[in-house]
């Protein structure tokens, strides 16, 4: 059973690699290919949600917070590069007279990249460890994250002079001198995007296959028992939540580069819930499922918003209800049904036919 599952897993990764590296770049025009880059940004975040929600059972409705942190940090660098030596345009409009001190370090790409890794993970760890130590979990944790996502939106919109307000930060042209709006630039960014996704999937797979992955499943199913196996479960949950935040932050940073803007709507509650839906569609226990989920729902979102802009939200709401009711394991569960040889029960039967050891 296990071997078939593995072979099926490897096969689906090969198919994905061929699709992303060979087929799509050749058949899609630069505009469509850039849209795929955007879907893959959400796939990076989705892989994190698989770890946090699927494996550890922690539902976060605030992944947008970390997505937004990564996105805004990257956007600060891009904006400074685009407007140098002047002040960023939105600051001028809001009559901010000098660059705020906390913007200054983001002239440096190195500082920006380090911040994208360090700030969201530090925030995620401190916050989640404090909450998990208090044994707050389940719905209550989801509500806390949702509230934080809302707070973050309000903060971003309110501080227009520092954050660009409701319009966010836009109008980037280059990344360290390389054009990010030309067709060639977008093609390079597409491959960077695919490589980042593969790297994130690799790290996630290593975590899932390690003992940590098993402990997370155990925590999801019986957290108190895990404490009595001698583990500090709050630490494990905080760890995986931090990894999820890191992936979301990386995704946000890539989004700013790929799409050329970041706005408060991408940080808020609705965006955070949409991210969870991508993963639900793909299958919350499947890393590769999250990628297909992000590709499919992202593509559907583009198609529907282009042709029937008003019904997108109804569609995604209906999709979420349908998936939870009829396909709780998502698309990955649907495929696993075909990919799997006889279920484990037959093995139990076979074993129980033997005389128990005396």
């Amino acid at each position: 059973m296990l071997r078939t599952g593995n072979r099926f897993g490897i096969l689906s990764i090969v198919v994905l690699a061929i699709l992303l590296l060979a087929i799509l770049p050749n058949v899609l025009d630069p505009f469509r290919l850039n849209l795929v880059s955007k879907y893959l940004v959400f796939a990076v975040v989705g892989v994190g949600i698989v770890l946090v929600w699927g494996y550890a059972g922690i539902l976060s409705l605030g992944q947008g917070i970390f997505f937004g942190l990564g996105g805004y940090l990257m956007a600060m660098f891009l904006k400074l590069e685009a407007s140098a030596p002047e002040l960023p345009d939105f600051m001028v409009w809001s009559s901010t007279e000098a660059l705020p001190w906390w913007w200054v370090p983001y002239h440096s790409l190195a500082v920006t990249l380090i911040s994208i890794v360090v700030l969201p993970t530090a925030l995620a760890f401190v916050l989640s460890y404090a909450v998990f130590r208090k044994r707050v979990s389940g719905v209550y944790f989801a509500i806390i994250t949702l509230a934080l996502a809302l707070t973050m939106t309000v903060l971003l919109v309110g501080q227009q002079g520092y954050t660009g307000g409701a319009n966010g930060i836009t109008d980037f042209k280059t990344l360290a001198g390389m054009s990010i709006i030309s067709d060639d630039g977008k093609l390079i960014l597409y491959f960077v995007q695919v490589l980042m996704l593969m790297a994130v999937m690799g790290v996630a797979t290593l975590i899932v296959k390690s003992r940590v992955g098993k402990i997370l499943i155990a925590i999801r199913d019986r957290e108190d028992r895990v404490r009595f196996s001698g583990y500090d479960t709050a630490l494990f949950k905080a760890f995986i939540f931090t990894v999820g935040a890191l992936f979301a932050s990386i995704g946000g940073a890539l989004y700013s580069v790929q799409v050329g803007l970041i706005t408060p709507t991408l940080v808020g509650a609705v965006a955070s819930i949409e991210l969870v839906i991508y993963v639900a569609v793909g299958g919350r226990m499947s890393i590769i499922g999250a990628v297909y989920g992000a590709l499919l729902v992202g593509w559907a979102k583009s198609m529907i918003s282009e042709n029937f802009p008003t019904i997108w939200l109804f569609f995604i709401g209906g999709l979420f209800i349908g998936i939870t009711m009829f396909l709780p394991a998502g698309l990955a569960g649907l495929f696993a049904r075909f990919g799997r040889t006889p279920p484990a029960r037959s093995a139990v039967l076979a074993a129980s036919l033997k005389e128990p050891v005396k």
Binding site: F228, S229, F236, V348
Partner: protein
């Protein structure tokens, strides 16, 4: 090797004014297999909950070897050498029997250690040995959720054995078992008792008779009687509140 391993002094806990355990003094020796009996609501499970850290006492102390357990977290108490088996078998249903046992192995229980944990040959031998003891050798690759009720009870005992605890707390280990499984469990407990200490809560008096060195009877959160099985069965008060029914 003998001597006291666990001693409780004036142990009390109340929930919303209800005294579940009330001023209990109890001493358990090394190498002892102690059974705790008593009618429903006598405070037996609460007693084990306090030893393993699940419930914090309102008053009193619990000394395990030299450690004051009332001030420690659950995972710290486990690491110090106390293992707990719950009333409803608590195994990780989505993991295989082998993985259930592996997780319980008392090494590298930090995040980083677990990230780079590798299954060594020694560990594999230990898993096989424990699986043999708890009659689950043929079920190692099966998801624990598919085991029968009795097998889950055994698996949980196996998980405790992997932890190498000096003190094992077992809450109704034979509940829901067939007579034959009960015998096997009695044999198992007798086999694993030497070198450690077992505290067993049980309702099944035939089973208690099979295994107990010494019996403690609780009633309304207080110690009612303590002694050998023969002494307990003759005790008027015990017959009155418990055995007579």
């Amino acid at each position: 090797m003998s001597g006291t391993i666990l001693s409780m002094r004036d142990l009390s806990v109340s929930f919303d004014g209800f005294k579940a355990v009330d001023g209990l003094d109890l001493v358990v020796e090394r190498n002892e297999l102690r059974c705790v009996i008593g009618p429903n609501g006598a405070g037996k499970t609460t007693l084990l909950d306090m030893v393993c850290g699940k419930t914090k006492p309102t008053r009193g102390s619990i000394i395990f070897k030299t450690l004051e357990l009332t001030r420690m977290g659950e995972y710290e108490i486990t690491r110090a050498g106390v293992g707990r088996k719950f009333q409803n078998p608590s195994v990780y249903e989505d993991l295989t029997v082998l993985e259930n046992l592996e997780i319980s192995y008392p090494e590298q229980r930090g995040v980083i250690g677990s990230l780079f944990f590798r299954r060594t040959a020694t560990l594999r031998l230990r898993i096989d040995e424990v699986a043999d003891q708890v009659y689950l050798r043929d079920y190692l690759d099966i998801k624990a959720g598919l085991l029968s009720h009795g097998q889950k009870q055994w698996l949980e005992i196996g998980m405790l054995l992997m932890q190498e605890p000096e003190l094992m707390l077992l809450d109704e280990p034979v509940a829901g078992m067939s007579p034959r499984e009960r015998e096997q469990t009695a044999a198992l407990l007798k086999k694993i008792a030497p070198g450690r200490c077992l505290m067993v809560i049980e309702h099944d008096m035939a089973f208690v008779k099979m295994i107990a060195h010494k019996v403690t009877v609780l009633h309304q959160g207080k110690l009612l009687a303590e002694g050998s099985m023969a002494e307990i069965q003759k005790d008027e008060r015990v017959i009155d509140v418990y055995l007579g029914h």
